[in-house]
Amino acid sequence: MAVLIEFELIERARGGDESAFNQVLQAYRKRILGTIARLIGKPEDVEDVGQEVFLRLYYSLDQLRTPEVFEPWLYRLTVNAAYDYLRRQRRRHESRMSDLSEQQVMMADASAGGKRSKEDADHTRVREQLQSLLDKVSTEDRVLLVLKEVEGLSLKELEKIYKVNENALKVRLFRARQRVLKAYESES
């Protein structure tokens, strides 16, 4: 992760300077929206979750100890907002699916598939395949794996986000990978 702004700007934003906060917002919005998009896999909700992240950032910036830890801290806020969204979605999805008959679910899937035909077919297929795979594991596994495998964060960076030591992280990653691999094998 390359730092996108000067520490001095973060200091100013932390002190309540709104124009400095606006610059932080401009610098990080694209990167944060990209991470959220890959974490939640629902393009229509990405901006909503992104706005929630920056809202939380604004109201908790004064708790930041030093500007040096700004990025892992922003990532932690992003991960937490993604968690909240995914848990909400999971609950909503479960209740919605239990209301529909199997035939209705199949018809809904078929109609959604038809609408997507205009999109880039390969990308859509990959996104759907991975999202369906990630839906089979817990939210915690999903987020950790996306941060490591897709976002490409190092163990050091993950340590700062999760606030756990490297060994504990390696164990969690290994187990999460095994669970996804198992789901992948049963799918293919």
């Binding site: 393009p43 992104g50 706005q51 109201y59 990959v126 395949q129 992948y184 293919s188």
Partner: protein
Amino acid sequence: MDRMEDKLDSLWAEYRQACPDPEPSPNFIPQVWQRIEARRRATSSLRHWAEACVVAALSLTLLIATFLIPRYQRQPVYQLTYADVLAEADSPDYTVIITGGDTRGDTR
């Protein structure tokens, strides 16, 4: 197993390619500020309500302490001791108490 791991690894990489950073809409930043303002308004109105409640509670306490408590403060139900009451009533029991239970003198 290794083959599956390799396939999964390439699926992660393909997914990264399939999900580039989206271009934020022009409304993104104004909407963030709208949310910040909405939260600020909600917090401030909550603070006003809390302050009003504290002031009301203090005024009520003061009112009760100054006017209502003295007004309803009753005289104690028993102003005399049991012995005094008996003496007033000139009851034979009273005699028993003062003479220590010896009532022989009375029968003479």
